[in-house]
Amino acid sequence: MNAPAPEPIIEIDSISKSFGDFQVLDGLSMNVMPGEKLALIGPSGSGKTTILRILMTLESIDSGHIRIDGEELYHMPKNGGAKDGGLVPASEAHLHRMRQKIGMVFQLFNLFPHKSVIDNITLAPMLTKGASRAEAETRAMELLDMVGMADKARAMPAQLSGGQKQRIAIARALALSPKIMLFDEVTSALDPELVEEVLNVMRKLAQETDTTMLLVTHEMGFAHDFADRVLFFDAGKIVEEGAPEDIFSNPREERTQGFLKKIIAAGHRV
């Protein structure tokens, strides 16, 4: 018997999004397979960060559908799931349940400044998953170990460097064991010498887990090594996608070529 073809973990079906008059996404469709590592690249304003924010439910969509694990994100079945009952906008409870599958790491870390490193990590598992403090702390220490920060468990965020803060933010998101991790320009706010320590953590994560990862980045060298697939965005659409070798060494589209040329001229490694 043939194994059934794996279903995509994320299905984005012709979504559109405008901020006022500015159309950020215009009928975008894309699928992501479980365990896939995706790099989203492109100029500012091309909509790549907006996709991550929409998946995290930080922005809504104007039209279209998103399915996570086969389940609608922004809609839910009418009549308590009866077939052909149609769809209605998702309730807060539905969004709450769907968000369990997704975690996000932000460009500016967004750590809670009034909580110690370990409390930043244990807070959500204790509040949203009913973990005991002991369970949450054991898990947090494992994660801190993984990101190389076990000795800073009792530190306050203000005592840490940017790279350290971002590693904590990654551990904090992982503590909820999401199936999908979203990384929004996680090294853009860091001093150049701190970028590598964060990228190392992400490499390790990619190797050691089968978490699906979506990465918006300007680190082309990292995108090249890290991603299974690279998507080049411009003006709210996917202009070109493919294996990293193809996109970076052999871009077909003129806009991709132009973008990569500019990035290299700006001193980013490819």
Partner: protein
């Protein structure tokens, strides 16, 4: 020669009433500030409207009038309050209306980034407010709360108008009985000042404690 010790005792007794009024008024004001301040940020129109009406009414009318209402008019509707209860009610509701705007402003000043981190960590609205936003916002409220508490302390003097024997009331009694103006009014001037100083010291200490670790220096 006047025997001042008895008269000073009278003023000190009044000072206790002032302290009592201030503490109870502040407690009520704090509760009202949070209820109305968070009410103004509610998703529900009715709660927002109710909170706004409360704030505008108590900021927009005089504390004298509010006190007279609490003491002289409410009994006409069947609610009779002692002078102390009427004083605490008027002071607490009045200062609470100002405090509500402090709460609202401080909550709004916590950046969008903190809200977004809470969504990404799947916290509920209540958990977000309780564990992330309010603890940070409270620190921002404190300096203005300190102002409000000192304002409340000084406003307690109005209760002497409804025959509550607070510090100002007793000073007037002493003045009437001794004919001396300088000693009773000089004494309460100093006492009010010391009480205000105690409030500001207390809040400053609280602020320092809560800010510990936030700037990366003190731990």
């Amino acid at each position: 020669m006047i025997d001042w010790s008895g008269y000073l005792g009278l003023i000190l007794k009044g000072a206790l009433v002032t302290v009592e009024l201030t503490l109870m008024g502040c407690a009520l004001a704090l509760v009202m500030a949070f209820i109305a301040g968070l009410g103004r940020l509610s998703r529900h129109f009715a709660l927002r409207a109710l909170a706004t009406a409360y704030i505008e009414f108590f900021r927009g009318t005089s504390i004298f009038v509010q006190l007279f209402w609490a003491y002289f008019v409410l009994p006409l509707f069947g609610f009779t309050l002692t002078p102390l209860q009427a004083g605490v009610l008027a002071l607490g509701l009045n200062v609470g209306a100002y405090g509500a705007e402090v709460v609202r402003g401080a909550v709004l000043s916590i950046g969008k980034a903190q809200y977004e981190a809470c969504v990404a960590l799947n916290l509920t609205r209540y958990q977000r407010m309780r564990h992330i936003i309010l603890p940070q916002a409270f620190l921002i409220m404190l300096p203005t709360f300190c102002n409000n508490a000192i304002e409340l302390l000084k406003a307690t003097a109005v209760v002497s108008l409804i025959s509550l024997s607070d510090m100002t009331f007793e000073a007037q009694v002493v003045r009437a009985q001794t004919g001396s103006t300088l000693v009773p009014f000089g004494t309460i001037l100093i006492l009010y000042f010391l009480m205000a100083l105690a409030i500001s010291r207390f809040v400053r200490t609280l602020e320092k404690r809560l800010a510990r670790g936030l700037d990366g220096v003190r731990v």
